[in-house]
Amino acid sequence: MKIPIIGAYSTGFGDLWDKGMGDLLEEAGINALKSAGLTAKDVDAVYTANAFSSKISGHAPICSLCFERLGISSSVCISSGDASGAIAIKEAANLIMSGEAKYVLVIGAEKSTDLKTNEMLAVAQDTIDDKEELFIGATVQSQFAMITRKYMSDFRLSRDDMSFITINSHKNGMTNKFAQFRFELDVNKINSSAFIADPIKALDCSMYCDGASAIILCSSGAAEKSKRNVLGYLLGSGIASMPSPLSKRKSLTRIDSTADAAAEAYKKSGISPKDIGLIESYDLVPVSGIISIEDMGFAEKGKGIEFIKKHPQAVNQSGGLKSCGHAVGATGIRQAVDIIKRLKKNSIKYGISNTMNGTGSISAVNIFGA
């Protein structure tokens, strides 16, 4: 598998008060097309990724917005919570590989700030198990908190130990002008914030925000023929599921879906962890970012933080979800844009990204090459 990526664009992430969903889709779409030297007429299909539009604005068919603002008629919306963006990339790739399309635009977008913070938090709880967990008052954060406590107990780590991933993400994010939070954090600042669900504190958690990201995939034939400027390649994709409620999982500290999705991506690409120089891990909260790295095969269980300490620039060089902000449906695509941009810049050959829905009910892993 080697699918050329010939266009990429990300809006800044943050509180984009003046931009509605249509504006975000238009900005990301038009600019991605521009970067590829294409117009909307050239595109065979658009795959959009969005998690919560129907709850946020009561407006569901993002596809209609795409048609209205970009004029692209063949349109699919992928809605799989936090993993929407990464899954949309795989689906677009499938369309290309089937021969059905030459150029596919993939746009992820979210308008989190159209709701108040606690309203958006409430909407985000859709991504965890409803019968058992949501029913009893659990949240994504509370479930990750229980995972964190188990992780800390099993591997004898303190909150401050785990904070390294957060501090590192923020440090990296300082140089990313597209990131929402560009300031340094230290353990004192993090610890002075209020508990969300202990041991997770407010400054441990990524913020839901607005943003849109887009990439354009094309068939290798089309890339050659038109001598398009290739920005990078999609080399492998994996999607896998695991039981949503923690109570049905074999281990609290292993996200099996990430491991399985990564295995599929490694198999399809023929690449293994030791080849990879850039990682966008899913740092919604510290433990998810750390476990994400372990389950993608970069460190043994319990040694994720050590890995990050050894390779601070390799992990979430963009600033990750923590510093960039989490524009839910867009994040998986933002990770793709950030990786291919930085592979080139740092002369690194391969990069990998991971997002998971909720607490890992579904994980998506994509591998990119320069």
């Binding site: 606690n118 409430a122 008052g137 659990a138 923690l246 109570s247």
Partner: protein, 108 residues
Amino acid sequence: MHRKSSPLMKRDNERNYELARNTGHSNNSITGTIESFTRVYSAPLGFENQAPYILALVSLGNGKKITSQVVDCKEVRIGDKVEPCLRKVYVDGKDGLIHYGTKFRVIK
């Protein structure tokens, strides 16, 4: 619109009642052990007035586990033994149904 419809609630009745109905009985009472826990401060919709409350992942033996609240105590630890009890989980506003479910108490 109410949060959970009547048919949905009726289908969940057995699941919500079965754990607590033998508590304390010698032959078939269920007990559990706390595998992990958290104290929820930032609660989801409808649970705000209960916060902070303790959630735990409880191991019931036979590979069965459940995420539930632990009540009647200020603190818990990993490894604490607990027993199920029936409590209100969620009241659907002024005019909706009262959702009861299984929570846990620490056994001394």
